[in-house]
Symmetry: C2
């Protein structure tokens, strides 16, 4: 099902590369062009068959009818004005960033009926990074959150949703604010919990790690540069959540200090109840 | 390789059941007897072929030359005097509990050259419980920590290590104190992090859970009754660690409040460095 003619992907890493491979596999576009800041990345993406052509120059994507911004979020915001300027009339521009308030704020300034921006956040990914780990089926059975700008174009939104559905993802439309609040809970706080936990565990004890520690801290292997930006761009939502988490830990500690077995059991049962609700 | 004649297993759950199945699979004993507090558990263990015979009465294991205590830790401590009383001369008694200070303290009172106790803690397991989830290869490629009592018998220790090696585990001897300190870091604190995280996340957001949250909180599905006992019996080691973890989170929060990108990056990199050291 051809949805687009030329797709231009800026940032051919894990997500950008997987999107390219998925678009190829499911024949959703005729041609895929890649842009990266480094020549080697472009060469690798071409070598792996992820893109049909590539360049370090954004101009290569000026004819694209779908432009995908798959760079870290700060860089995305930086290049957004240029992207709108070079995009052809009728082009659709999407991103895949993990925070949305800031992206949509900037996109709102430029989006108009000729160049429509649609925020996308596929809740798929991995602590592994780079185009070498890309897979056409990375988005299968995942959820992609869609965030519209102030100019909503129903047919464009529909086409973008179709793109994600064709890649195997479900879609759900949220406001930028809702998105950032929910993600702070279900993604950013767990990352902070994992990163902070690793800081506490002495290196000489790591050799004793069993599956529990491995799973709990897997996401502390995530890319620092990427996550630094996510944490900083969503700090207003995140800071109050860290406080809630600290409160939860303080309460747990108080139950141990008081040897309050009854309330401790209630705490554990309530957490297990919630965890067992996650499929 | 026959290491024992009759093995008596008290508490035929995930660990006790897996031990029984492993002993059968690798022909490490001639007969396996199970004890449970509930008739249905015994019936199920027999039906699944996990034990050759079973009873709710401890007397069934009085002829065993290896007695395995695989009950929750409080119950273990409660029945330990009875076990020593009924065990035959020359019997070896082991446990598989997750905390050791308290177990070894009690065992030290009863162990003598005729009835030797060896503390064991296989660092294998699952958030799943019960004999239905037992597997003969649960211990494969895992580590089993061995804790001796004040009466050390080299040949008995050797035989118990051989048992774990035959099941595919490595063994390492530690003091009870060392064991409880290390486990507080690598197991108990991660469980507290996961249980406390689930308490913070609103139920209506759970449907957005991606793999990161799922992995980070998997162990919050662990059995509350079991973990309540682990937390309470090792509270002296755990309470200072929760404080360290709170400090780590507070520092992280302060970096977001101050928008200190440089120190935030250093924090994330240091945690990733440690996490990447875990195999």
């Amino acid at each position: 099902m051809r949805l687009f003619n030329k797709v231009g992907i800026v940032g051919v890493g894990l997500i950008g590369g997987s999107l390219a491979l998925g678009i190829k596999k499911y024949k959703l576009a005729r041609k895929i062009l890649g842009v990266s800041r480094h020549k080697e990345s472009i060469a690798r993406a071409k070598h792996l068959g992820v893109v049909d052509a590539g360049s370090i120059n954004l101009n290569i994507i000026k004819d694209a009818d779908l432009i995908v911004l798959a760079t870290p979020v700060m860089q995305l915001i930086e290049i957004l004005p240029k992207i709108f300027k070079l995009a052809k009339k009728g082009a659709v521009i999407i991103d895949v960033a993990s925070t949305k308030n800031n992206v949509i704020q900037v996109a709102n300034k430029f989006t108009d009926k000729d160049k429509i921006f649609v925020g996308c956040h596929p809740l798929a990914g991995s602590e592994k990074r780079g185009v070498v780990n890309a897979s056409p089926d990375l988005f299968k059975n995942s959820l992609c959150i869609i965030v519209a700008t102030k100019i909503k174009n129903a047919s464009v939104l529909e086409r973008i949703k179709k793109l994600w559905h064709a890649l195997g993802a479900l879609t759900l439309e949220l406001s930028a604010r809702e998105h950032d609040k929910i993600l702070a809970y279900i993604s950013h706080l767990p990352h902070i919990a994992a990163y902070s936990l690793m800081r506490v565990i002495p290196i000489q004890y790591l050799k004793f790690s069993a599956q529990g520690l491995k799973d709990t801290t897997r996401i502390a292997s995530s890319e620092p540069r990427l996550w630094e930006e996510i944490f900083l761009t969503n700090r207003q939502e995140i800071i109050p959540l860290i406080k809630k988490y600290e409160y939860s830990l303080r309460y747990f500690k108080s139950l141990l200090v008081k040897k309050d077995a009854r309330r401790l059991r209630t705490f554990l049962k309530a957490s297990k109840y919630r965890r067992d609700k996650i499929l």
